[in-house]
Symmetry: C2
DNA sequence: AACTTCCTACCGTCCAGACGGTATAGTAAC
DNA sequence: GTTACTATACCGTCTGGACGGTAGGAAGTT
């Protein structure tokens, strides 16, 4: 049900993510949906809580990534097809809409990323710059909406180039911390 | 009226930006609003058109900025109090919601920024990185919502530091193109 | 083994209010 | 007489939510 809620939010926006629509997509009736989540607010809280759990897992994956946390962060920022990215974008829709308190879960993810990048990069300004680029990529992914990989592939001009640039910056600012 | 529409979109999300609410905020009646914009779609189109006009002016200001286009772009990305930023964020709300075609106006602004930065930076990857950081800052501004400067001032840790880092990158990648 | 009772996980219906939009009568300025 | 509204009333549709019902299994009693 949370999956259906998140998918509708990302694909068609907050307005389309009504109880009826979520219930339909999840394959239950509206009554059934409201049985599990007593209200729409509870649904929102449930998704925010789910994001918190996924964030913990994502940070672990980031630390364990063979190419290092920065590579992992930037590469996953262009995807919309994994559960974490879907839920992250969904919650950011909610935070921009009628549920500003959902922002806390978003900030949690953000702080965790920054802290993890900082472990490897040492320089706080550079860490912030990297996370900002990740945010920028997320913002684009958020606008892509339903289109599968249409302009993600055509106008992205290479995440690899971007990562190469970031490596140069790391080498410049913190020569001793590269390679995870 | 477009101003009121944009303000409601940014402060309270797409759902709150109803015809009634826009009319109230603009100090007119609903009939009066619908006299000028025959439908809500027309209102949306009007705002997108307005963004296109503001984009042209913004790019001019960017080129004429004493500290250079990059400095201008990054600094204005943290603001929500100017008309351009307000309308840009408002249209991005619409594009993420029920009006995906509003994305065209957003892409227009984005392309114009990238082109202008490219004029000064020469390296396309670096230009993209800079615009991505700008996008990231916009994404944060979009989440700040109504709060005046609350955490913009507390957790921003200096746009100046970020700009210094960008200058280093420019010096590294295109040594001959700094200072506007 | 048969029965009643209770709980869980739903379904389907209904409701008050809000939504976008239309219509109409009136008004004040130019 | 046209323009630029205001104010009010209304329509059909959609919204979140409340409500009563029910299929099916587990638990207890006899």
């Amino acid at each position: 049900m949370l999956q259906a809620f998140a998918a509708l939010l990302v694909e068609h926006g907050e307005r389309a993510a009504t109880l009826d629509a979520v219930a339909d997509r999840a394959g239950v009736s509206k009554g059934g949906l409201l049985y599990h989540f007593g209200s729409k607010d509870a649904l929102v809280d449930g998704l925010a809580e789910h994001l918190r759990a996924l964030t913990a897992a994502d940070v672990d994956a980031m630390r364990a990534a063979p190419a290092g946390p920065v590579d992992y962060l930037i590469r996953t920022s262009t995807q919309v097809d994994t559960e974490f990215e879907l839920v992250y974008l969904a919650v950011s829709r909610l935070a921009q809409g009628a549920y500003p308190h959902a922002r806390a879960a978003l900030d949690g993810a953000h702080d965790a990323w920054t802290a993890t990048v900082l472990e490897v990069v040492a320089d706080p300004v550079l860490a912030r710059a990297i996370v900002l680029m990740s945010d920028g990529l997320y913002a684009h992914a958020a606008l892509s909406g339903e289109r599968p990989g249409d302009d993600l592939t055509s106008r992205r001009m290479g995440v690899d180039d971007l990562l190469a640039l970031i490596d140069e910056m790391i080498a410049l600012r913190a020569p001793r911390a590269t390679e995870g």
